[in-house]
């Protein structure tokens, strides 16, 4: 199909692409009455829920800090609290940066480049988040045991079986997510280089 033929087909399809009048009317009424929520600048529920869980976990650690006696476990608990506060903040800030945009001020090319760059930054932040989360998992196990008053050294097969299996599962999951991020990062970078050629 040549470009001119494509143009003819496009013009033909244009005649059929019309939204039913009543749907347009309904939506315009709803939107001008400010009952429509834009999706572009909205941070998803999953991000909010994730952040709340992290903050609750941090509060749990603060409340139970006095139950931890060993200095090493106390240090782990402090680091854990810090991560539980920092991780969601990093995530929310990077997501807000990805979404905080003004679509009308840019040309199409600028919009593609801007979105591509924002996406790359967001994915890099997410990679950092995953690495920190893995570290958090490692230190959370002995800290939680200390709060419960259990000596994990006395738990049968903990260091030889339970702990390595947990870490292995998380590593597999993290590697899978990171690989997927890397692929999308490469695709985005490739797309940005393509459009500038």
């Amino acid at each position: 199909m040549e470009l001119e033929e494509m143009k003819n087909v496009w013009q033909e399809t244009s005649k059929a692409t019309k939204k039913p009048d009543h749907l347009t009317n309904q939506f315009l009424e709803k939107m001008t009455a400010k009952k429509y929520n834009s999706k572009i600048n909205k941070i998803g529920y999953s991000e909010y829920i994730g952040s709340v869980i992290c903050f609750l976990a941090a509060i749990y650690l603060i409340i139970n800090l006095n139950k931890i006696e060993r200095p090493l476990m106390q240090i782990f608990a402090f680091v854990g609290m810090l991560l539980l506060f920092i991780l969601p903040i990093i995530s929310m800030l990077s997501l807000r940066n990805l979404k905080n945009i003004n679509v009308s001020s840019k040309t199409y090319l600028e919009a593609i480049e801007d979105f591509g760059k924002r996406k790359i930054n967001f994915l890099k932040f997410q990679k950092l988040n995953i690495s920190l989360a893995l570290f958090l998992l490692v230190i959370a196990v002995p800290v939680l045991s200390a709060i419960k008053g259990k000596d994990i050294d006395q738990t049968p097969n903990f260091w030889t079986l339970t702990f390595p299996i947990t870490i292995a599962f998380f590593l597999i999951f993290a590697l899978w997510v990171l690989r997927s991020y890397r692929r999308i990062l490469n695709e985005t970078a490739k797309m940005l280089s393509e459009i500038n050629n």
Binding site: M1, M6, Y108, I184, M191
Partner: protein
Amino acid sequence: MDKKSLFIKVIKENEGLIFKVANLYTNSLHDQEDLYQEIVFQLWKSFDSFNDRSKLSTWMYRVAMNTAIYTLKTAERKIKTISIDAETEHVANVSDNPEEHKVKALYERIKILNLLEKGIIMLYLEGKSHQEIGEIVGISTSNVGTKISRIKEKLKNYGTKK
């Protein structure tokens, strides 16, 4: 005429344009509806900033296409490929009409283009001049010509490979 009435009039007169952009950048009816609404909302939001110096359709295409970029399937975290398989499969399933097969072939070809080319080709198919395409996309008029030649070549190669 108040702002709201004027805006509704503008949207009604140009809804085909919005619908086509929503159609081209999504792969399901649900996403298409969402994008349509988001575009109208972004147009409403920036309606005050629109001035007569900028041609109405240029402003509308710019807002519509930019909105499509920023609402690209973020859930899938993809940026490069916007599948229109669903659309083309739908066309293939509903009818054996040769015209609909032509539409399917048209979408298949647009699908192989990158985001910038996709925007340029849509404006070209809409019958926009090189100058208007340049204004909307943000590249020089001569660059529009070069890009269209490359797109032609790409589409030709796609035809031969197939």
